[in-house]
């Protein structure tokens, strides 16, 4: 099968790749770049475990071909703490407020859906810094979690929102 060259930015770094036309973005990220934090739970866009940001928009990377990401800027879970600071890679442990809140609120169990939920929550809070419980539940219905019953995830998103607003207020 013919290979297609692609060039994109992933977590702030320039990346060149060669992919089959049928290669999904999620498989490119996982297999060629080793960014295994983006997970495959259904590969048909229902579970959200593969959620990433493409040019700032929340995307299920199993529903996008790698060739479609040519020229785009992609942020994966591995790049979240970086993008939240000055855009430069931070030391491990420099967590995004959403990540901090997910830890603090026990908002995960097996962890398989977690990167997708963290990305979705981050995208939500970028659009709406102070969502209600109902808005959080509406927006996060894009993702599935089989372990938590969502209670602590919703709490974490509210806590993250408060942390982020506090940060903005402090500026």
């Amino acid at each position: 099968m013919t290979k297609h060259p692609i060039r994109l930015r992933v977590n702030g770094e320039a990346v060149d790749g060669e992919v089959e036309a049928r290669t999904l973005l999620v498989h490119f990220l996982r297999e060629q770049l080793g960014l295994t934090g983006t997970h495959v739970g259904c590969v048909v866009g229902e579970c959200g475990a593969c959620s990433v940001l493409v040019d700032g928009a929340l995307v299920k990377s199993c529903l996008m071909l790698a060739v479609q990401a040519d020229g785009c800027a992609v942020t994966t879970i591995e790049g979240l703490s970086t993008s939240a600071t000055s855009g430069t890679p931070g030391p491990p442990g420099t967590l995004h407020p959403v990540q901090e809140a997910f830890i603090n609120r026990f908002a995960l169990q097996c962890g398989f859906c977690t990167p997708g939920f963290v990305m979705a929550a981050h995208a939500l809070l970028t659009r709406n810094p102070d969502p209600t419980d109902e808005q959080i539940r509406q927006e996060l219905s894009s993702n599935l979690c089989m372990c938590t019953g969502y209670v602590q995830i919703v709490e974490a998103v509210k806590e993250a929102a408060a942390r982020l607003r506090g940060k903005d207020a402090a500026r």
């Binding site: 099968m1 089959e20 049928r22 290669t23 498989h27 996982r30 960014l35 295994t36 934090g37 983006t38 997970h39 495959v40 739970g41 259904c42 590969v43 048909v44 229902e46 579970c47 475990a49 994966t76 879970i77 591995e78 979240l80 703490s81 491990p92 967590l95 959403v98 990540q99 997910f102 830890i103 603090n104 609120r105 026990f106 995960l108 169990q109 097996c110 962890g111 398989f112 859906c113 977690t114 990167p115 963290v118 419980d133 959080i136 539940r137 509406q138 996060l140 219905s141 993702n143 599935l144 979690c145 089989m146 372990c147 938590t148 019953g149 969502y150 209670v151 602590q152 995830i153 919703v154």
Partner: protein, 850 residues
Amino acid sequence: MTRYIGTSVRSKEAPRHVTGRGRYVDDLTLPRLLHACILRSPYAHARIVRVDLTRAAEHAGVKAVITPADVQQLSRPFKPGRYAAGLRVPIPEYASAVDKVRYVGEPVAMVAADTRGRAEDAVELIDVEYDALPAVVTTAEAAAPSAPPLYEALGSNVAWQGHVAYGDVDAAFARADRIVRENLKIHRYSSTPLEPFACLAQATADGMTIWCNSQSPDVIYEALAEALGLERVRVIVPDVGGGFGQKIHLIRKYAVLTALMAVRTGRPVKWIEDRSEHMMAGGHSCEQEFDVEAAVKSDGEVLALKIRDTDDVGGSVSTLTIHFTNKLNNLFNTYKVQHLRLEGRSVLTNKCPVVPNRGIGKPGMCFVWERTMDRVAQELGLDPIEVRRRNLVAKDQFPYTTPNGNIHGSGDYQALLDKVLANVGYDEVRRRQQEQRRGGASRGPHRARLRDGVQDPPSGRLLGIGVVIGVEPGGRNAARDMAIFPQSKQVLGAGGVEGATVKIEKNGAVVFTLGSPSCGQSHETTAAQIVADVLGVSPGRVSLAGTFDTALSPWGVSSANSGNNFHLYDVGAVHGAATRLREKVLTLAAHLLEADRESLQIDDGIVYGGRASRAGGDGVASRPADSSTAESMSFAELGTIAYSNQALLPPGLEPGLEATYYHSHPHADPLMLPDAQGRVRAQYTFSSAAHAAVVDVDVDTGRVRVVRYAIVSDNGTLINPSVVDGQIYGSAAHGISVALGEGFVYGADGQLLTLTLLDYGKSTTLETPRIEVEHYPIPDPFTTLGQKAAGEGAAIPSPAAIASAVEDALAPFGVKVRHLPLSPERVWELINGVGGHFSRTLTGTNGSVL
């Protein structure tokens, strides 16, 4: 000292998961790795006539194909295991189909290629000729004498029939004022872990290493040894993306196929199941039908129960009786009833085999009890909560032994009901409900169905409340099955055995190894809290040494993420190992500090002699450089000596600071093995909880919205309350989703119609209510810390709670809720008194249109 036990100590697992640094099987790779893909049966029932590999073998990148003939030639079949207790003819089962296929999705062949894409391409090029046979999809069809048998050797699809009986059921029925009868059904569902099955196998010089997301690594260990005749098998379980029972049993087939492919190709092979494969062949919970008769007194006392249980076990004999035998675990629920007969029938059908799944038969058993209690109340004109209260085991009866031998260590069931009623505002809900039913205007086609004097609510919505109670058994005792099958001489898994190792490293860091894998239940966090308290060190300095590995982990028969085992065996083992290590630390420190051993104290990783003043918790020992005059020593100092300086060790003390302890439940007896009456400890601990569900039913669409869901739960001593909360939220959410319509739907030809999570109807954040939990812990008198189980718990009573609430909401229509799921379609049919409400195959799922 319990400084950390009982507090929500920060999660040790979460930091890696929120940063994408979890490590699951699919994240691993090896040099020269091949990718495997499986060809599955498109038929529900067919004979395999011919397999032609010509086209597939020629496809670019393909390295090998394994056919049914290869499987038969190169591997041995699994022996019927304990899940198949009661199987009357030993039927060998291979890792793939060999002669016939018995369900859509049954594995037929495996391809390995250099990329996953090429393996998938090649699977489509395998030509299989099938001779299609008639499929039997419902138990009624399958049990008919004329039905085509799935296994000719059995002669019939009714593969097992039997019963258990306790007390004098006939005498109790003779004494009854009334017999209450009901037919109940609970449908097929699963827990659909987000990470599907995954195996990575590498043949070694003398055996096999497999990375596998198994919940019960012993199953994989035994399967590879048995099927491939391997003497050296190493099973490594990295992070697991959810289990819930799904990853206990059928996964062994895929471990064997992947390992066989690794042998055949001489290269490491990875196989990752995809979502639709998991939906069709990863295993389902069992569709169960119950004919219930309750012998009752006019005052609501239940004297006895007779139950006829028909289990649809699908297309395999390998889990023939698990959904029956697991009902022994909560056979009497929370009730003091003394007489009960449970008849069982396991019927084979051309559907996915059933597997252990979050409670196994226990949600069904709880459904029987709680629906029956509501029905008894209705028929006697009593309050449903009062009927439950009349039959509950009383607070002063604990420890309470059920008629079938389970010992409920502690509990206060009345208090759970009191609290949940208060929390949900029961009286207020009833008041609002009455108001709603009084006002109203007539509208809609269902108007004629309303009972006399009841007004159609103006909003088109009906409020309902259901209150139920249940137990959550914990700690597996596999000898249970001998109660039903006394002919089985093997006592595999009697009681429980599980190990743990705790070590203080040379630098003072504390690491531990558990005997069982975690699937997301925070084993590391919880165990670290126990180690921290026992050793006298902060949890921040305690960590898990590594993931489960049969070559390194101290494992035993209970080493499984199954049976709600963690609280009993892992906690007992890690507590025992830490206690043993503490003794050694004190022996060494007493010698070095020249202090009386009894006078020593440990705080924050520093051992203080009797004369010492505390260092203030900064981890630095207050001692002069000359150890002979020291008054305290840190773990790092002790570690350095223990591993490096024999001259300073007390005579006879083994060097090193490490201890391993294998825990067996000290209170496993009495009734670890069944007595003459068939009484046996099915499980060892019994958490309990009352659930109150408030629902709002849309009369026009049949959609059920859960507006409140309150739980009061007794899980014994809480080690990490937030972790326990999470287990309760998650299991409740699953049971609620099941009741509202999540489920598998088959066509009459045996084709699975719900191949995706959307079709299957899994609840999202929108359908799942904000579950409210209050803890009411009553420590168990028989466990290490008073702890009880917390895992599958709330999935057991929640389907019954929703059923009760929906029936209550629909009371103006006088309809009975007998069957799950309560999808909008089903509820609409109930409201309108029409439709195939009892159809057994084409049942609507949540939001799907058939």
